[in-house]
């Protein structure tokens, strides 16, 4: 959910872009962190754990915990909390440990 009025902050947004999450087309703003764009679209479950398939979501948001790793444009293990969104980005839940390409 995007904050419309904040008592202290003015949010400067880049231009609106479309991107894809597991094939679904969504919109966000260029330059914001990918996880922020996902959360703004109501997406909190980013992937599932390896063995027990427990839902995984954002934890630290600064690249230090590995909870937000996803496959971005075909590359695995990308920390989506410190990745700026670009037009046409393909974000996918990573199946398992990821492959080194």
């Amino acid at each position: 959910m995007r904050i419309k009025n904040h008592p202290v902050l003015d949010f400067k947004k880049g231009k609106k872009v479309t991107f894809y999450f597991n094939g679904k087309e969504l919109s966000g703003y260029e330059g914001e962190a990918v996880v922020a764009a996902l959360h703004a679209n109501g997406i909190k479950v980013l992937s599932h754990s390896l063995r027990h398939k427990r839902p995984r979501g954002l934890y630290c948001a600064i690249g230090k915990c590995a909870s937000c790793m996803m496959r971005v444009n075909g590359i695995d293990n990308v920390r989506t909390c410190i990745l700026p969104l670009e037009q046409g980005m393909k974000i996918e839940s990573q199946p398992g440990k990821g492959e080194l390409k």
Partner: protein, 158 residues
């Protein structure tokens, strides 16, 4: 005890003497811990606030110098400074509260008066809203309140 519930009792922060309260609008500082911090001292144009060389010492106001200008309200990082005018009119007092929440406010609006533990005590009327250059986005909201609540009201709700 404020360390376990986050709420100061009125007796922890007694108001200055009647003699001082009769002078008009003055600042009161509800700062009880030794935190390294002194923007109130450095911002006061009258030099009325003293902390000293050890910036962990508590601020003390010299009421012979305090003009109630409210610059200290605008800079205090803890939003712990308020302004009072106990005898603003025959029946009421005026309290000025530093405010940084997301609500549209207007002079003349009726608001609910709230104490230090979040309890609603009654109603008051907004008499003024200022925003000083020294701290943009912080509103200094002055509210007319029943005089007996002068050491109780420290917040308001719309």
């Amino acid at each position: 005890m404020y360390k376990s519930d986050g709420v100061l009792q009125s007796s922890d922060v007694p108001l200055p003497d009647e003699k001082i309260l009769k002078k008009g609008k003055i600042a009161i500082i509800e700062c009880v811990e030794n935190i390294p911090c002194n923007p109130c001292e450095t911002s006061c144009p009258q030099g009325a606030i003293k902390i000293g060389e050890n910036i962990c010492d508590l601020p003390k106001i010299d009421y012979s110098k305090c003009s109630g200008c409210s610059l200290c309200l605008a800079v205090c990082p803890g939003l712990a400074i308020f302004a009072l005018n106990k005898y603003i009119d025959e029946n009421r007092s005026e309290i000025t509260i530093p405010y940084e929440l997301n609500t549209s406010l207007e002079k003349g609006m009726t608001v609910k008066l709230v104490n230090r533990s979040g309890k609603i005590l009654g109603n008051g009327e907004i008499s003024a809203i200022r925003e000083l250059k020294i701290q943009k986005k912080r509103k200094l909201v002055s509210i007319l309140i029943p005089r007996e609540l002068i050491n109780e009201v420290r917040h308001f709700m719309v």
